[in-house]
């Protein structure tokens, strides 16, 4: 089970990438996280995590088309790999398992 250990931030990044589906590139991910979680994320923090997840095989990336915006630089779009999906599902199941195991009493107050 600890085989696919995901950090909290890693997990959020992967989920955000999943939400954005085909449009997940650096700034979009940051915006999305800011909007949904109210969390400020620096480019540096995000980019290192993205590269790490890519290296682990959870994410894959491709270049988009060059546009006039962004000084003519291409965007790099990230998508979940099937392996990444599996890991994410496994994490979710662990969480759900944990939630289910909580005695009803605890939250019934």
């Amino acid at each position: 089970m600890s085989k696919h250990h995901l950090g909290e931030f890693e997990e959020i990044v992967m989920l955000t990438v999943a939400i954005l589906y085909d449009e997940a590139y650096g700034i979009a991910i940051i915006d999305e996280m800011e909007e949904r979680l109210g969390r400020k994320v620096s480019i540096g923090a995000l980019q290192t995590v993205l590269r790490r997840l890519e290296k682990k095989g959870y994410l894959s990336s491709r270049f988009g088309e060059a546009t006039k915006m962004r000084g003519g630089k291409r965007k790099r779009y990230f998508t979940l790999t099937s392996y990444g999906k599996k890991v994410l599902t496994a994490v979710k199941e662990q969480r759900v398992g944990l939630w289910n195991a909580i005695p009803k009493l605890v939250f019934n107050e």
Binding site: G26, S42, I43, T48, R51, M69, G71, K73, R74
Partner: protein, 873 residues
């Protein structure tokens, strides 16, 4: 206003510089997108600032590119490979490896040995608590030359106390005299070196006490402080304080303290210190304020931050104030202040206290150490460059794979540091075995103590790195410059540019070696010259015995007659000094009382048999005669030089008179003795007067038959023991004579030692290079043989190049050696001339050694069957 402000240039450039190239484009895009948006939302300035912080926050592992030109942060496998390759190439070329490591080891050994010696010599007298504040007074009496120097370290008895009284910056001052004395306890007698010192001695010199109190130990007369080892010898393990010892004059002295044995690196060698207040001559000179009689050493401590030079400037005024009755003395005293740390290497002054080092040797040996080490480094350079051809392919391949130049340089320098380390390990082993021998040669207790000598390990590490870099840098630069394409095609031959520098290195090596050979030869010849020179007296088969104690002195006539009754003993004479070294001097005037006619003259007191025992020749007049009642005080014999100095021929001198400054009454010359060498050959023969003096004799000189030596010595000892409690110490006169040249002898031994080593190293280098060249030229030799060349012809061809280098080295060495040896010989008043054959012989020897070294390799190459060398084309 700019509508589209661009992001700040510097952070952007910084980002582009550090960012991993794979990520550069899209992250830069993100940065720009964010920047553009922020310009809209927050304005240009805020956006610029935030852009900058974003760039800084991106500077983290994961984004930063790898700094290695190739890639990867992990060089482990590369270093492993370096080691592996180094190790293999060392094993593959065992001969070169041996020469390299061996040569470096020998060079390093010499260096470490000399380093230890120099370190020891510089460590003298530093162990006292306030060593940096201890000074002494020495003085110069302009024109009062004694043994070639008008400096001396003795000072008047009242000086020390006057210093403390007159100058507040002088905190403590003490007077010291040296004396070897006989100490008696119960039935036993001990002949020991000692000091006389006053109560302030232990304030200045802080020797730790085992028993007793340093403040009171030397306050009372007839008290004595022992070193721990002497106390152990006399009293065993018990506390001796309060015990009494019989001093040689018969008085009982009370032991008031025991100090720990002083360390070896101390100038003062003693095993006891007795209270100066019991020293009769001191008390007399002190009470009568005799500022003209210089017999004591004055040492003192100064307050912290006090300037010794300022004190020195105040000394003339002090001297004027106190000199008193000393007005008529012809020479003016000038006092100098000298720090304690300098006295071990101070040799210009006469009558100095303590063990002396030799500053000249120190610098000479340091020079030799560096030269020998350089020779070894040169060897390494030569062989490494020579071998690099064999490794050219490796270099080519490394370059093709992507090694950059500085990596290769690093690799080869690292390799040479590694070899230097191996050499050092060997050198430490060698040094360990050689220190006793070397220490014996130098008469110093040097030892290799890696732990206690805190300077040693860091020093050696630095040394190895320096040697490694020094010897590795040239090969490294050379090898890393090879072109991969040429190398891999195999288009490199022996005639590359490195050969030129290599030849010069060999020339330099041989020049140094030949300089050493010539120097050794000259030193040896000069030594032989001294040994064989006509001295003017006979030094063979004469036993000398110091006369100590009144009982022996009173019975001299008895003991003389006792000895002379034996047929083994041919003659006995007594004298105040031995003819090998006459040190006492006086001033005379040829009776006209004009000051400019004053003559400083050496003097010695002898008995009636002196001239005969030493075979000294009278060229005019007569010897002292026991019949003549007036001989004792008024009749003198002078030497030829003295007669000449007084303006007389030997014949005229007889009957002439002169006066002596310190004694009243005219002296008459009764004889003139042929000049003899009464000092070492460094000094010209000086005027000498010989007076009859049988009551203050210092030595018995016994002329014996050379055979049955031990029997004769036994006879001498038995009679001696009857009249003296002192140990029977005898020395042969020729031994005493050799003592005069101990420094030269030691220098000679050193030179021979280092000459052998430098030749060894140079030969090793030459051998390696010869082997290499022969290997390079196998094909050429094969073809020559096929075409009919003889073995001798081929050997000649191979040897010619090397002999040319040796010859060039020889030519270079001649002026250098001549200059140095000229300097050395100038120090002798009687010396050999350097002759052409000494140079020729050194050159010839170098040639022969070089020829011998290269011949084995050349002959081997010449004898190879051409089929073998030519078949694998």
């Amino acid at each position: 206003m700019n509508k589209n402000p661009s992001p700040p240039k510097l952070p952007l450039r910084f980002f582009r510089w550090y960012c991993h190239p794979d990520y550069r484009e899209d992250i830069e895009g993100d940065l720009l997108e964010r920047f553009e948006r922020r310009v809209q939302e927050k304005g240009a300035n805020a956006a610029k600032w935030l852009f900058f912080t974003d760039v800084i926050r991106l500077f983290r592992p994961g984004i930063i590119r790898s700094w290695e030109p190739g890639q990867s942060f992990n060089n482990y496998s590369m270093f492993k490979n370096y080691f592996k390759i180094t190790w293999r190439s060392l094993l593959k070329q065992k001969l070169y490896t041996f020469i390299n490591i061996g040569g470096l080891a020998v060079g390093l050994t010499c260096f470490i040995l000399i380093f230890l010696y120099v370190q020891h010599e510089l460590s003298y007298d530093r162990f006292y608590e306030n060593a940096d504040r201890i000074y002494r007074i020495y003085q110069k009496q302009e024109g009062n030359f004694h043994l070639g120097s008008d400096y001396f370290t003795l000072s008047p008895a009242p000086l020390a106390t006057t210093l403390t009284k007159e100058f507040p910056e002088v905190t403590h001052a003490t007077s010291i005299a040296e004396e070897t004395a006989l100490l008696g306890h119960e039935e036993n007698h001990y002949w020991e070196k000692g000091l006389w010192a006053d109560a302030s001695f232990f304030e200045v010199f802080t020797y730790p006490f085992v028993y007793g109190n340093p403040k009171t130990a030397l306050v009372k007369p007839e008290s004595i402080v022992l070193t721990a080892s002497l106390s152990q010898k006399i009293f065993g393990a018990r506390n001796p304080v309060g015990q009494s010892l019989i001093f040689q004059n018969g008085d009982p002295y009370t032991v008031t303290g025991v100090i720990k044995d002083p360390p070896v690196n101390t100038s003062f060698k003693f095993s006891f210190i007795s209270c100066l207040l019991s020293h009769k001559r001191y008390m007399w000179a002190f009470k009568n304020a005799r500022w003209g009689s210089n017999s004591f050493h004055a040492f003192f401590t100064m307050a912290e931050h006090a300037d010794p030079l300022q004190l020195q400037n105040k000394l003339p005024a002090m001297y004027e104030k106190y000199k008193g009755n000393n007005k008529n003395y012809p020479f003016r005293d000038t006092y100098f202040v000298q720090p304690l740390s300098e006295i071990h290497l101070e040799t210009k002054a006469n009558f100095d206290i303590g063990l002396k080092g030799n500053a000249k040797y120190l610098s000479l040996l340091s020079l030799i150490a560096v030269v020998v080490l350089l020779l070894a480094c040169v060897n390494y350079m030569n062989l490494a460059v020579a071998c690099s051809i064999k490794r050219a392919r490796e270099i080519g391949l490394r370059k093709v794979i992507g090694a950059v130049r500085w990596q290769l340089i690093g690799q080869f320098i690292g390799e040479s540091v590694l070899i230097a380390c191996l050499g050092l390990l060997l050198a430490i082993g060698l040094t360990y075995f050689l220190t006793p021998v070397f220490g014996h040669l130098l008469e110093r207790p040097i030892e290799l103590n890696l732990i206690e000598n805190t300077l040693l390990i860091p020093g050696l590490v630095v040394l190895v790195v320096v040697v490694g870099i020094l010897s590795g840098s040239y090969p490294a630069f050379f090898m890393s410059s090879l072109r991969p394409v040429q190398v891999l095609k195999g288009k490199i031959n022996g005639r590359f540019s490195g050969m030129k520098i290599q030849s010069w290195l060999i020339v330099g090596q041989y020049a140094m070696a030949i300089v050493l050979v010539i120097s050794s030869l000259v030193i040896y010849q000069q030594f032989r010259f001294i040994q064989q020179k006509e001295l003017g007296y006979n030094k063979e088969h004469i036993v000398t015995i110091p006369i100590r104690g009144n009982r022996l002195r009173e019975n001299l006539e008895v003991i003389k007659n006792e000895w002379l009754s034996n047929t083994q003993i041919l003659g006995v004479a007594t004298s105040t000094q031995l003819p090998t070294n006459i040190r006492s001097s006086t001033i005379i005037n040829d009776h006209d009382d004009r000051k400019e006619n004053d003559l400083s003259i050496y003097e010695t007191g002898v008995d009636y048999d002196y001239l005969e025992v030493f075979n000294m020749e009278l060229i005019a007049g007569r010897n002292f005669s026991s019949d003549s009642k007036t001989d004792p005080t008024y009749r003198h014999i002078i030497n030829e030089t003295a007669a000449k100095a007084l303006g007389w021929t030997p014949e005229e001198a007889i009957g002439n008179q002169f006066v002596e400054a310190s004694n009243k009454g005219a002296k008459t010359v009764i004889g003139v003795v042929k000049d003899f060498h009464m000092h070492s050959m460094h000094m010209a023969i000086a005027p000498l007067m010989i007076r009859l003096n049988t009551s203050h004799s210092g030595f018995l000189s016994v002329k014996i038959q050379p055979d049955n030596l031990s029997e004769t010595l036994a006879i001498l000892e038995t009679s001696f023991k009857k009249y003296s409690p002192y140990p029977f110490e005898y020395k042969f006169l020729d031994e005493q004579f050799d003592q005069l040249y101990k420094a030269e002898l030691r220098l000679g031994e050193m030179f021979v030692f280092f000459t052998v080593i430098s030749i060894l190293i140079a030969s090793m280098g030459l051998f390696g290079l010869a082997a290499f060249t022969a290997g390079q030229r196998t094909k050429e030799i094969g073809i020559r043989k096929v075409l009919g060349a003889s073995v001798q012809g081929i050997v000649g061809i191979l040897a010619k190049d090397f002999l040319k280098m040796v010859l060039a080295g020889f030519l270079l060495a001649i002026p250098v050696a001549w200059y140095f040896m000229h300097q050395w010989l100038a120090d002798f008043a009687y010396r050999i001339e350097m002759e052409w054959w000494m140079f020729a012989m050194a050159g010839f020897a170098a040639m022969v050694i070089a020829l011998f070294t290269i011949s084995s390799q050349s002959i081997k190459a010449a004898l190879t069957n051409p089929v073998d060398s030519l078949k694998n084309e």
